[in-house]
C-alpha cells in the first residue's frame, strides 16, 4: 500500500485553484521537449543543427559543473582540460600509424578510445582530486586554473600531439555499421549522451549518495557525524564531472574530425563555469539552459553587433561580459528558476511506501550495561584548560545530564566524547573500546549519534530528506545503483524509517516542508529525529530543549523517557533546570573545566558547591 502525503497543509480546493494557474504535468512538458529534439534536425537548417550540437556538447560539461559546483560547492575552472583529455586521447589513438602492437587495437574503433579516454580521465581526475580536493573552497578554483593551464600548454607543446597545429583526419564514429559523418547524424548521438547523463545525474541526486553529495555544501561536519565520508563524496563528484567533460571531448573530436589546443584552454574552462552559473548552478536543467543562453548569445552578438555598430571590434566580448554581470545582479540563482516559474509544472510529492521492509536494527545493550566511559579527560587550548581531569559514565537505559554555567567546558567535553576533537590526555571508552582520536564517522558507525548546539541542517532540503541522512550508515547502495535506479527498494526502506522517526518526534505535519522554514525549536527536534534515524545505542543531545515551548518540552521529555525504557543511553547538555531535574537519572555538574558534583537530581539541587557555582557565593 502506498500513502500519498500532501506537500503542504492542504488548502481548500477553491483557494488553491485561485492561487495557482492550472499546472502542467511534468511528463507532458518533458514529452514535448523530447519530441521537439527529435524533429528539430528535419526542420532547421544545418547551421542551427550545428549550433544545437555545440549546445549539447557544452551542456554535458556544464552538467558536470552543476553537480560539482552548484550542488557540491566545489568550483572548477579546469573542466576544459578534461574535455581536451577526452578529445586528444581519441584523436591520438585513432589517427596514429606507428602505435606499438599492444596498443594499436585500441585505435581501431572510436568506441574503444572512448573507454580509453574515460579511464585516463578518471585516473588524472583521481590524482588531481587527491591533491586539491582537501583544500578549502577558495583554493580549489585557483588550483583548477593552475592545472587547467598546465594541461593546455602540454597539449600545445607536445609534438606527438601535433603541437599548436593539432591533429586532423580523425575518423567518424560508427554506430551499427553507419558512419556518423554528418552534423544531423551525430546530433542524435550527442543529445542521447546528454539526456542519459541528465537522467542519471537527476537520479543520483535523489538517493542516499545524492543526499550525501548535497550535504557537502554547508553541512560537512553534520554529514561526517552521520557517517558520510565527505572526502570520498567530493572525489566522486569530481570524477563524475571529469568523465562527463571527457565524453563531451570525445564527441567533439569525432564531430570536428580535428583537434587543436584552443578549445581546451582555461578561458573556455571559465566559460563552462559561466554556463552552469547563468543557467542555474543548482539545477540539472540549468546546464542546458546555461549552455543555450551563452552559445546563442555569443553567436548572436558576433553577428549582430558589427552590423549595429558598423565596425568589427571585439564588441561582443564587452557586451557579453557586462550582460553576464547584469544577469547575476538580477538573478543570482540563474535563469532556470525564472523559466520554471513561467512554465508551472506540477511536482509530485514524494511517496512513502509503508509496506517497505524496515531497515535492520542494532541490538541494544542490556539495561545497566556501561556504554560510554570518560576517564580523566583533559583538553588544553594553549594555556587554557577547558576540560581538567573529567570523568563520567553513561549506562544503557539511563539519561545523564551534564550541566554547568556558561563557559564551564560542557561543549568541549561533548566534542571530546563524539570525536569532533581529540583530548590532550585521558581516555574515552565507547562500548568498551577506546575512541579518543577516532573520527566522528567511525564513532557514528559504532552507534553514537548526536545533535548540535548550533543547529546543523540543510535548509533547502525537506525535513524528510534531512532526517534520511541519519540512515546513511544503515544502507549501502552506491553511486552506480543510484544513477540507474537500482536502489529503489533500499530507498523506500530509508524513507519509511525517516518518516517513522519524524512521526515519533511529532513533526509529521512538516515532513515535506523545507527544513529552513521550521522554527528553531522544531529544527532541534528534527536533529533528534535525524540522530534516531541512525539507530544509535547512545544519544548525545546538546541543549535539545532550547527554544521549545512548554508543550513541546513535555513531548520531548516523553520521547526521551520512552527511549530510555527501550534501553537507550542518553547524555544531554542542558540549561533548562526544570526540564533536566524532572527527566534525568543522574547529573554531572561542571565549572571551569572541573567536575564539581555528581549525583541524583535531588542531591544536586541541594549541593552547596553547585548552588555557589550557579548563584554565587554567600558572603
Amino acid at each position: 500500500m502506498t500513502v500519498r502525503l500532501p506537500a503542504d497543509p492542504v488548502p481548500s480546493d477553491a483557494s488553491a485553484a485561485r492561487r495557482r494557474p492550472a499546472l502542467l504535468s511534468s511528463r507532458l512538458v518533458l514529452g514535448v521537449f523530447l519530441v521537439l529534439l527529435l524533429v528539430v534536425p528535419a526542420i532547421l537548417s544545418p547551421y542551427y543543427v550545428t549550433l544545437l550540437n555545440y549546445i549539447g556538447l557544452y551542456a554535458m560539461v556544464a552538467l558536470g559543473l552543476v553537480l560539482l559546483t552548484g550542488v557540491g560547492g566545489l568550483t572548477s575552472f579546469g573542466q576544459a582540460a578534461f574535455v581536451g583529455l577526452g578529445a586528444y586521447t581519441t584523436a591520438a589513438l585513432t589517427t596514429a600509424t606507428d602505435l606499438p602492437a599492444w596498443l594499436a587495437w585500441v585505435g581501431a574503433s572510436p568506441w574503444l578510445t572512448l573507454v580509453a579516454g574515460l579511464l585516463i580521465t578518471a585516473a588524472v581526475a583521481v590524482v588531481l582530486g587527491s591533491l586539491t580536493l582537501k583544500l578549502s573552497g577558495h583554493f580549489l578554483p585557483l588550483g583548477t586554473i593552475a592545472w587547467g593551464i598546465s594541461l593546455y600548454f602540454l597539449f600545445g607543446t607536445m609534438q606527438s600531439l601535433g603541437g599548436h597545429t593539432g591533429i586532423s583526419g580523425i575518423p567518424p564514429i560508427t554506430l551499427f555499421g553507419r558512419a556518423l559523418d554528418d552534423g544531423r547524424e551525430i546530433y542524435y548521438l550527442i543529445w542521447a549522451f546528454l539526456l542519459v547523463a541528465m537522467l542519471t545525474t537527476h537520479n543520483l541526486l535523489d538517493s542516499r549518495e545524492g543526499r550525501a553529495i548535497r550535504a557537502l555544501k554547508g553541512g560537512r561536519v553534520m554529514a561526517e557525524a552521520m557517517g558520510v565520508d565527505t572526502a570520498r563524496a567530493r572525489m566522486v563528484i569530481f570524477v563524475i564531472a571529469a568523465l562527463l567533460a571527457c565524453a563531451s571531448g570525445w564527441l567533439y573530436a569525432h564531430m570536428q574530425r580535428f583537434v587543436n589546443p584552443t578549445p581546451f584552454g582555461v578561458h573556455i574552462g571559465i566559460e563552462y563555469l559561466f554556463m552552469a552559473v547563468i543557467g542555474g548552478a543548482g539545477y540539472v536543467w540549468g546546464a542546458i539552459v546555461g549552455a543555450s543562453v551563452i552559445t546563442v548569445l555569443k553567436q548572436w552578438l558576433q553577428d549582430l553587433l558589427p552590423q549595429l555598430l558598423g565596425s568589427s571590434g571585439n564588441f561582443e566580448m564587452i557586451v557579453f561580459g557586462v550582460l553576464m554581470v547584469l544577469v547575476l545582479h538580477r538573478a543570482r540563482e540563474g535563469v532556470w528558476p525564472i523559466l520554471k516559474k513561467l512554465v508551472p509544472v506540477r511536482t509530485a510529492p514524494k511517496t512513502i511506501d509503508t509496506a517497505a521492509e524496515p531497515l535492520p536494527r542494532r541490538t541494544l545493550p542490556a539495561a545497566g550495561e556501561r556504554i560510554l566511559e570518560a576517564k580523566n579527560v583533559t583538553r588544553k587550548f594553549g594555556g587554557l584548560v577547558a576540560n581538567d581531569n573529567m570523568s563520567l559514565e553513561v549506562r544503557a537505559g539511563e539519561i545523564l545530564a551534564l550541566i554547568g554555567p556558561n563557559g564551564a567546558g560542557k561543549s568541549t567535553m561533548f566534542n571530546q566524547l563524539s570525536g569532533v576533537d581529540t583530548p590532550t590526555s585521558g581516555e574515552v571508552l565507547f562500548l568498551g573500546k577506546p575512541v579518543a582520536g577516532h573520527n566522528s564517522r567511525e564513532i557514528a558507525r559504532m552507534g553514537m549519534s548526536r545533535t548540535f548546539q548550533h543547529v546543523k541542517l540543510l535548509p533547502t532540503m525537506t525535513v524528510l530528506e534531512n532526517v534520511a541522512i541519519g540512515a546513511h550508515l544503515r544502507s549501502d547502495k552506491g553511486v552506480l545503483s543510484a544513477a540507474w535506479r537500482l536502489d529503489r527498494a533500499e530507498e523506500a526502506r530509508i524513507l519509511k524509517e525517516a518518516a517513522r522517526q519524524i512521526e515519533r518526534v511529532g513533526l509529521q505535519d512538516h515532513m515535506f516542508d523545507e527544513a529552513g522554514s521550521l522554527a528553531l525549536g522544531q529544527q532541534r527536534i528534527l536533529e533528534i529525529a535525524r540522530a534516531l534515524c541512525a539507530d544509535p545505542c547512545l544519544l548525545l543531545l546538546d541543549e535539545p530543549a532550547a527554544g521549545l515551548r512548554f508543550k513541546e518540552k513535555a513531548a520531548l521529555s516523553e520521547l526521551l523517557r520512552k527511549l530510555r525504557a527501550e534501553g537507550m543511553a542518553t547524555l544531554i547538555v542542558e540549561h533548562d533546570m526544570d526540564f533536566v531535574m524532572g527527566l534525568v537519572d543522574r547529573v554531572v555538574v561542571m565549572e571551569f573545566g572541573h567536575k564539581i558534583a555528581e549525583g541524583l537530581p535531588d542531591e544536586i539541587q541541594n549541593n552547596p558547591a553547585v548552588l555557589e557555582a550557579y548563584l554565587g557565593g554567600v558572603d
Partner: protein, 345 residues
C-alpha cells in the same frame, strides 16, 4: 650555464618576482576584505602600461573615456539617491569625484602636450586615470551583489575580466607596447650589470610594501580594512561601512595593478591581454601564501619569478607548465597540513 648567466636570470626572476609579490598582496587584500577573487587585476596592469604608452605616443588615452563613462553611471546612481534623500552636499561630492574629476582629467589630456611631459608626470597622470576605475568598478559591479556567495562574486569577476580584455583591444589595438625605461643608468655589481629599471622596480616595490604595512598598522582606515577582513559582520556592527571598505580595497588593488603595469612596461612588451597571465602568476604566489599571509605570499612571488626565469632558460617551451604545476606540490603540502573537516561557506 655559468655564473654570469645565472646572475642575469636571477636578476630577471627577482624583478618579475617583485611585481608578482605586489599583485599577490593586492589579491590577498581584496579577497580577505570583500571575498572577491580579483581576476581583473591583470587588466589593471595592462591598462596602466598601455595608458602610459598611449600618452607617450601623443594620443589621448582611451581609458579616460571609460573613466568618464563609469563616472557618469556612478553619479546617476549615487548622486540621484543622495538628492532624493535630501543630502545635497553628498550629491555634490559624488558628482565632483565621479563627473567633474574625470572630465577635468580628459580636458588636461586634450590640452596639454602630454607626450612631451616628463616621464614621472606621465606616470602620475596614468595612475590618476586608471586607479579611480577600481572603486568605480566596485560600486557599479560588486556592491549590488556584495552579500552573494563567493561563487557569484567570482563569476562577476570573470565576466568583468572578459569585458575589460575586450575593451583593452578596442582601446589599445592588438599591437604590444614597450615604454622607455625610467632611468638609463646601470650599475656594475661585481660581474653583474644591474639595469636602472630593475633598481626602480625593486625600490618602488619595497617602498610600496612598507607603505602598505604602515597603512594597515597605523591608520584608522587600514585598521578598519583589517577588521573587515577578520570579521565582516562584526566590523559592520562597529560602524565600518562594507561599501567603503570595498571601495578602499579596490582603490588599493587598482593602484597596485596600474603601478605594476607602469613598472614592467619597460621590461616586457605588454599586449592588451597580457595581464591575465601576469596576474595568474600573482595568484600562484598568493596561493602559496594561503590567501592569508602577506609575507609568505611575497616569498612565493619571488620563488615564482625565479622559477619562471630559470625554466625559460632550460625549457622555454614548458615555462608556463612548470610555473603553474608548482602549485601542485604546494597544494599537496597544504592539504597534508589540513586536519579535521572544516565547514565552508
Amino acid at each position: 650555464m655559468d655564473m654570469s648567466i645565472a646572475l642575469i636570470l636571477g636578476q630577471d626572476g627577482i624583478t618579475n618576482g617583485a611585481i608578482y609579490a605586489l599583485l599577490a598582496l593586492a589579491l590577498v587584500l581584496v579577497f580577505a576584505v570583500t571575498r572577491v577573487i580579483f581576476i581583473q587585476q591583470g587588466e589593471f596592469v595592462a591598462y596602466g602600461a598601455l595608458t602610459l604608452a598611449m600618452m607617450q605616443a601623443g594620443t589621448v588615452p582611451a581609458t579616460v573615456w571609460l573613466l568618464v563613462a563609469m563616472g557618469v553611471l556612478v553619479t546617476v546612481f549615487d548622486a540621484g539617491a543622495a538628492l532624493r534623500a535630501g543630502r545635497h552636499r553628498r550629491a555634490a561630492a559624488v558628482a565632483g569625484w565621479n563627473l567633474i574629476y574625470p572630465l577635468a582629467l580628459a580636458a588636461i589630456m586634450a590640452m596639454l602636450p602630454v607626450a612631451s611631459l616628463p616621464l614621472l608626470v606621465q606616470v602620475f597622470l596614468t595612475l590618476a586615470i586608471v586607479v579611480p576605475m577600481g572603486p568605480q568598478m566596485y560600486r557599479l559591479m560588486y556592491q549590488p551583489v556584495a552579500s552573494a556567495p563567493v561563487l557569484i562574486l567570482l563569476i562577476v569577476s570573470v565576466a568583468l575580466h572578459i569585458a575589460m580584455v575586450g575593451l583593452g583591444l578596442l582601446f589599445f589595438g592588438a599591437e604590444g607596447q614597450r615604454t622607455p625605461a625610467f632611468s638609463d643608468a646601470s650599475f656594475e655589481l661585481g660581474t653583474l650589470m644591474v639595469s636602472g629599471q630593475t633598481v626602480w622596480v625593486l625600490v618602488v616595490s619595497a617602498l610600496l610594501i612598507g607603505a602598505l604595512y604602515q597603512f594597515f598598522e597605523r591608520t584608522l582606515y587600514g585598521k578598519a580594512l583589517r577588521a573587515t577582513a577578520i570579521n565582516r559582520v562584526g566590523a559592520q556592527l562597529m560602524g565600518i561601512s562594507p561599501a567603503l571598505a570595498g571601495k578602499l580595497t579596490f582603490f588599493l588593488a587598482a593602484f597596485i595593478g596600474a603601478l605594476s603595469g607602469v613598472l614592467i612596461a619597460p621590461i616586457t612588451t605588454i599586449y592588451y591581454d597580457t595581464g591575465f597571465l601576469i596576474a595568474l602568476k600573482g595568484f600562484v604566489a598568493a596561493i602559496i601564501g594561503g590567501l592569508a599571509s602577506y609575507p609568505i605570499a611575497a616569498l612565493g612571488a619571488l620563488l615564482v619569478g625565479l622559477l619562471e626565469s630559470f625554466s625559460s632558460f632550460w625549457a622555454s617551451a614548458y615555462k608556463e607548465v612548470i610555473v603553474f604545476t608548482l602549485i601542485i606540490p604546494v597544494l599537496l603540502w597544504r592539504s597534508l597540513n589540513t586536519g579535521h573537516v572544516e565547514e565552508e561557506e
